[in-house]
Subunit: 121 residues, 2 copies
DNA sequence: AGTATTACTTACTTTTGGGTAAGTGCTTGA
DNA sequence: TCAAGCACTTACCCAAAAGTAAGTAATACT
């Protein structure tokens, strides 16, 4: 059993930790879900839809997702610039898991908030 | 469609953001998976199994999970102290989603690492 | 000549997460 | 008398995450 668990401890070689570090950051999952609903979006469109994200964070989040092969960036060499973002097949295979997690979150949101209140600070 | 997405933007009222902020931290998911495999564990047992977690972080992680109603803390009034932790039914309903996410992570770990290398920086 | 548009970057600051090391309280056993 | 065991807490520190505001490049439109 311990062997079974040891894998989790090492950040670099643990797939779950490695992937969750990315997905679990402040904006990545949100951007993936947004792109999933809209098929294809430009930088400023994502920015407007999310609203509260800064340009800087959107830029680095998109870069990270692209590095992981979860989104594709298509640049049109025009002026003013035009860049389109869409999910890759890899991301599409991830989406169902995110959605099922999101559904659990929705179903359990109220009771969890109640638990937190009961627990106090 | 915009209405569909607006919900994600507000941290306090978005279930996904709210739950993922907790699950997505450095240790919570790991502790849940560890408890899932072992049924019931004491503080120092979890500490030993994970190995790399500090007592301080284990303590706050357990406190947060308890506040969310995901683990139960049972205190035996003996000396030296004895405290047992186990998953609640709520956590058990979450576990399958975490495991399916973990499986996706395992399946996609290699290609993702390759993507990252190809991408450079 | 000046403004708008688009997709960013850069410099700077603040906030948060998390690590380290030591301390606490109480009892049992050597 | 003193170390050991357990489940923590506390004080302090550091690095990374994230926010703010401004700047950039190139062209078209007025």
């Amino acid at each position: 059993m311990k062997n079974n668990l040891e894998i989790y401890a090492d950040v670099d070689n643990c797939p779950i930790r490695n992937v969750l570090d990315r997905i679990g950051d402040k904006w990545s999952m949100l951007v993936l879900l947004v792109l999933n609903e809209s098929d294809v979006l430009r930088f400023n469109e994502i920015h407007k839809v999310i609203g509260s994200i800064s340009q800087k964070m959107l830029s680095t989040t998109l870069k990270n997702l692209e590095a992981d092969g979860l989104i594709e960036r298509e640049v049109y060499p025009v002026i003013p610039p035009k860049v389109e973002y869409r999910l890759t097949a890899r991301a599409e295979s991830l989406i169902p898991h995110l959605l099922s997690l999101a559904e659990w979150a929705k179903d359990n949101f109220i009771p969890i908030k109640q638990s937190r209140e009961r627990f106090g600070s």
